[in-house]
């Protein structure tokens, strides 16, 4: 039996799927190792994709040629565009997906991908030779050989599940963890840390009294996630269903407070740090004691199941307390729990040990993506997955790395934050993390990034052609608006007025109407015109930013040799080894003076070299 591949991807979660699809599509013979093929692309937490800033990530993954957006379009049972009352830069798509359907759909897409093999095994250790990753040893005793390895292990590394006083090893509830792999990473010299996350209980909808609960439907006109999805007669693909909203109350809080001595978060049983933006219900009640109620979204897990996700009460309290607290909530008085909520602690590799390509600094041809890098969220994972996949493939082709910068994509912000600053808690994307938020919009992800997807062969010719068409129509329309006068001013100027929208232009200009512009073009032109001043201002900032980013710091740079650097700065620079002066400037502890000093030092050195 031949167990020789170009790339091995360990883990079949959202990062692993995108990574494996990218390498296979870029012509690398790829093996996806998974503990259980039935949980490929499993949504371990809530059955939803997207949301604030995460929606932007999904659109970017799509523009690069990833699968997450298409998978969502094919399986979603509710679409909702967030922040439609606010400006375009903070609009984000979100969808409830049918959890089983999404999982099966993605699995089928992976199975039918050329160059991609799927194998059930548990990766026990990494095989490394001369500082280079050369494969993975499985629990079955099989040695899988490859030229590059991508680890996307999620919460499985030494996963420890807590429910009340009980704790047991597991990667997800009901699934085994991977015990050996993180030791193998430690042995190679990696620093390994520990994080915590959690989930809420899942209920049986038959036992929920929905009467009187606030219903929440999706958008009347659902917008697809993927730039490639056609809104034909089959759209949306599945019946759309509502979520419901209920609240905790004083009784719920009392139950929790009285049982804090049994909460692993407070007994010291859980030691790792969880996310501040996604606290468990016991944490919410302790930290925000004066808040009378907390919102809960009841989200259907799918069309063919009654299982319901209780978004808002993630908990690791003991089972009997979970029962009582759930039943204290309006509408859930008789609710039956199908799966209990739990907290999970897992190993992660602090991401400052990575290069911006997601390759490790320590071991060549070893890439890490997803929760192993300290992030949280399907979208964050998938974004790293596709980037790690592309970079592994480029590496094997002998080509330079692919790094998106902070002015190009949320993906750039994500990875730059990780490799430059590291993280103290599971990292989640927020729009406020992006300096160039006005430019990094979900509506223009194709215009920002599809060129790369096309270049790497991840975007098919046809889709590229239609983007080119869109661009030329946008250019034509901009020119038309500039050159056509209406009431003594150009149409462009007219459109700039707050009360005027594109539909108004179509109403007053028949020849523009006759052109039959597609909605995507109208949207781009309208945003481009209305926010032109702001966009130009951001572009000016971007230009300065790019200058610093393009000033690369060569690998031969010896920070020990520059006595003028502050001690703290020198230590940080040695640790992070930034790729550019711009990245160096973002490291905490590196002052503008240190950057100036580096600049002078570099010039003198490069002058000396030639």
């Amino acid at each position: 039996m031949v167990n020789n591949y170009d790339v091995i991807v360990v883990g079949g979660g959202h990062a692993g799927c995108e990574a494996a699809l990218a390498t296979a599509r870029m012509g690398q013979r790829t093996l996806l190792l998974t503990i259980n093929p039935d949980t490929i692309a499993q949504m371990s937490c809530n059955p939803a994709i997207g949301g604030m800033a995460k929606g932007q990530l999904v659109r970017e993954i799509d523009a690069l040629g990833g699968e997450m957006a298409r998978g969502t379009d094919a399986t979603a049972i509710q679409f909702h565009m967030l922040n439609t009352k606010k400006g375009p830069a903070v609009r984000s798509p979100r969808a409830q997906a049918d959890k089983r359907l999404y999982q099966k759909e993605m699995k089928r897409r992976l199975e039918s991908q050329e160059n991609l093999s799927i194998r059930q095994d548990v990766a026990e250790s990494l095989l490394v030779e001369n500082g280079k990753a050369i494969g993975v040893a499985g629990q079955t005793g099989t040695h899988y050989k490859a030229r590059a390895v991508i680890l996307t292990t999620g919460t499985f590394l030494k996963g420890l599940i807590h429910i009340g006083e009980s704790k047991r090893p597991g990667g997800r509830t009901g699934e085994p963890s991977a015990q050996g792999l993180s030791d193998s990473l430690r042995a190679l010299g990696f620093e390994v840390g520990r994080l915590k996350t959690g989930t809420p209980p899942r209920l049986n909808a038959r036992t929920i009294n929905f009467e009187g609960l606030q219903q929440q439907w999706g958008d009347v006109e659902p917008q697809p996630f993927s730039f490639s999805t056609e809104k034909g007669r089959e759209w949306p693909c599945h019946p759309q269903v509502p979520c419901y909203i209920t609240y905790t109350n004083a009784e719920t809080h009392k139950i929790i407070r009285e049982n804090l001595h049994r909460a692993p978060l407070y007994t010291g049983q859980i030691k790792a740090v969880g996310p501040r933006y996604c606290p468990s219900i016991e944490d919410k009640i302790v930290r925000f004691a004066d808040k009378g109620q907390h919102q809960i979204f009841l989200e259907p897990e799918g069309l063919d199941t009654l299982e319901t996700y209780c978004n808002g009460i993630a908990t690791s309290l003991p089972c009997d307390v979970q029962e009582r607290l759930v039943r204290s909530i309006r509408g859930l008085e008789a609710a039956e729990i199908i799966r209990y909520g739990y907290a999970i602690e897992y190993d992660f590799v602090p991401p400052t040990q990575l290069k911006p390509t997601l390759e490790t600094k320590l071991v060549e041809n070893l890439f890490l993506a997803g929760q192993i890098n300290g992030t949280s969220g399907y979208e964050e994972a998938a974004a790293q997955g596709i980037m790690a996949g592309i970079n592994a493939a480029l590496r094997l082709r002998g080509e330079g790395g692919f790094v998106l910068d902070r002015s190009e994509a949320y993906i750039g912000v994500l990875i730059d934050d990780l490799v430059t600053k590291g993280t103290q808690e599971p990292y989640r994307m927020f729009t406020s993390r992006a300096e160039y938020r006005l430019i990094l919009r979900q509506d223009n992800a194709d215009r920002r990034l599809m060129k790369y997807g096309y270049k790497f062969g991840l975007i098919p010719e046809g889709q590229w052609k239609s983007l080119e068409e869109k661009e030329s129509l946008i250019a034509w329309t901009r020119a038309y608006l500039q050159n056509t006068l209406y009431e003594g001013q150009s149409l462009e100027k007219f459109l700039r007025k707050p009360e005027v929208d594109f539909a108004r232009l179509l109403a007053i200009d028949p020849s523009l109407r006759e052109k039959g512009l597609p909605p995507g073009v109208k949207e781009q032109v309208e945003i481009g015109v209305k926010y032109e001043g702001y966009i130009q201002r951001q572009m000016a900032h971007v230009e300065k930013f790019k200058k610093m980013e393009s000033w690369s710091l060569p690998p031969w740079l010896d920070y020990q040799e520059i006595p003028e650097l502050r001690k703290e700065a020198r230590q940080k620079l040695l640790e992070i080894r930034p790729a550019s002066l711009g990245q160096a400037a973002r490291i905490s502890g590196v002052s503008p003076a240190d950057v100036s000093i580096l600049m002078v030092y570099l010039t003198s050195k490069s002058g000396a070299r030639g």
Partner: protein, 537 residues
């Protein structure tokens, strides 16, 4: 590259001062404010790049209707120090005039859309190096210049951030906090709009923005609270050493209130003094008594403040003035440690203390390990014999930084009655670095001239950094930019522009203000959100 500007001559009053600009737009920027004596000459150096060097005589506009005579020296790229176009404005060396001129140039350039900014520390030299003017062997010198100039700037920034003597900067910091708070609310409503959170009403946003705008506008008034420049020189030492009398005597006018009673000065008092063309900003501080009184006088004698009725209140005030005195010392360029020469034993002990406080005279780098332990000596135990006076016990004053110090033995007129304190007596104290010692009498004026000379000497021999700091201009400029961004934010709110644009302006305002009193990052904003609001499903 941006065009940069800086004062290129030492601070203080002098017959002539030089303002230097470097960069592609240097010439255009200056010529907008310049009127040549002979108009025919004016355009030559711009129109004709054949002129490598030229000198123009004329007048430069300082403020509306106010001109100053000046000489322009124009050096065309690459025939200049930086190998860029360089313009030097030689004009009268008056600090207020130079500051006005600097601000005039900056604001004019900004209005006409030219990229002019204040030079970073050592930036002219850095450009000279980057453009190949200075050779390789000089690179290290460049690095050192950047480092030392930046450290000086950092001290200035720290002075501002810590609130200095008058607490104004502290309120600036508070204003910054409120600005951050508003951005936090705005980001909350943007990033977490899908959560159970009250949206930020447009009206609240508007009124808060207006308040902030008003608050910040106060700072930039001409007679506003931004501190005067000059070499900050602090008077410190035990109470009743005659610091305030000395301060007044040096100024030649009764600026600070004095009395025969110890503890008269409670707050820091500032005044500007010009000595031989150098500007000093004198800072008088409240005396901090510190000797444990094992030797010398008992604190209950005349050194002790007359027992005030409101001892509790007095204690609070005293605690505050200790903190203020401490900050004043830490953020100064030069320190005068003033002792009562009429009381040798007390003075001796003070000296012992000075010895331990000034051991690390050099390298005030914060964060350096071990410095904290070494720089403990200046204890504040008013009249305290350790635990005896529990209720008035104050924590020991730990100075994080001691500026270069002159030891002033005051009341030399009275010292006839006390054993003389000769420099010889200092030996057993094991001072690692002798501070210069000056004997003065604020009463008779004896020794004042020598003190002045010593202060100048400290500046001239490089112990004290006297390079003119663009900090005041920079502060005002940054405040101006902060206000502009806030103004735009208000405009957005009034027109109901989407909130993310308001957030953009607020972010810019916060960044500008951050350059004055400390950066607030997007992580800090997220931290505020998570600590105040229950986020997350």
């Amino acid at each position: 590259m941006d065009t940069i500007v800086a004062l290129a001559s030492p601070g203080g009053n002098s017959p002539r001062a030089i303002l230097k600009l470097s960069g592609g737009q240097a010439l255009q920027i200056v010529l907008e404010l310049f009127t040549p004596e002979r108009p025919s000459e004016g355009q030559k150096p711009i129109a004709d790049s054949q002129f490598k060097y030229s000198c123009l005589k004329g007048k430069i506009l300082v403020e509306e209707d106010t001109c100053a005579p000046c000489l322009l020296y124009v050096m065309r790229a690459p025939h200049s120090y930086t190998r860029e176009d360089v313009v030097e404005v030689h004009t009268i060396g008056s600090p207020p005039l130079l500051e006005m001129l600097l601000e005039g140039l900056l604001s004019r350039a900004r209005k006409s859309g030219r990229a002019l900014r204040l030079a970073e520390p050592g930036e002219f030299t850095k450009r000279a190096f980057l453009n190949g003017r200075i050779d390789l062997s000089q690179a290290e010198a460049v690095l050192r210049i950047i480092r030392s100039r930046t450290d000086a700037e950092l001290r200035l920034a720290a002075r501002c951030a810590s609130g200095g003597g008058d607490g104004i900067s502290r309120t600036l910091k508070e204003t910054q906090g409120r600005l951050a708070e508003l951005l936090c609310l705005l980001e909350l409503s943007l990033d977490f709009s899908d959560q159970d959170i009250e949206p930020l009403p447009q009206e609240t946003l508007k009124s808060r923005l207006e308040t902030l705008h008003k608050e910040l506008s106060c700072y930039k008034k001409a007679d506003g609270p931004i501190k005067q420049g000059g070499i900050r020189t602090v008077f410190y030492g035990p109470p009743n050493a005659g610091k305030s009398s000395l301060f007044n005597a040096l100024l030649g006018r009764p600026r600070a209130i004095t009395s025969p009673h110890p503890g008269t000065t409670r707050d820091t008092v500032e005044a500007t003094l010009t000595l031989r063309g150098f500007s000093f900003c004198l800072v008088d501080t409240a005396g901090v008594s510190h000797w444990p009184s094992a030797l010398g006088r008992q604190p209950n004698s005349e050194t002790r403040r007359p027992k005030a009725e409101g001892r509790g209140l007095s204690g609070d005030v005293e605690a505050l003035s200790v903190v203020k005195s401490q900050e004043a010392v830490e953020t100064s360029d030069l320190a005068l440690f003033v002792l009562d020469g009429s009381s040798a034993p007390g003075a001796l002990e003070s000296l012992q203390l000075l010895n331990s406080t000034t051991t690390p005279t050099k390298s005030p780098s914060p964060g350096g390990k071990g410095e904290n332990q070494r720089s403990t000596g200046w204890y504040s135990q008013p009249g305290g014999r350790g635990k005896g006076e529990g209720k008035n016990q104050m924590p020991p004053v730990r100075l994080r930084r001691i500026p270069p110090t002159i030891l002033v033995i005051n009341k030399s007129d009275l010292s006839r009655n006390a054993p003389p304190l000769e420099p010889l007596n200092l030996k057993p104290l094991n001072l690692s670095a002798y501070p210069p010692v000056i004997y003065t009498s604020a009463l008779t004026g004896e020794g004042l001239e020598r003190l002045g000379q010593e202060m100048i000497r400290q500046v001239l021999n490089g112990t004290v950094d006297s390079t003119p700091s663009p900090f005041n201009s920079r502060q005002r400029l940054l405040l101006e930019e902060t206000l502009e961004a806030l103004g735009r934010a208000l405009g957005c709110v009034r027109q109901s522009t989407p909130q993310e644009l308001v957030a953009l302006e607020l972010r810019e305002a916060l960044d500008k203000l951050g350059e004055v009193c400390g950066t607030i990052t997007s992580d800090d904003i997220l931290g505020r959100i998570f600590s105040q609001f229950c986020i997350g499903k």
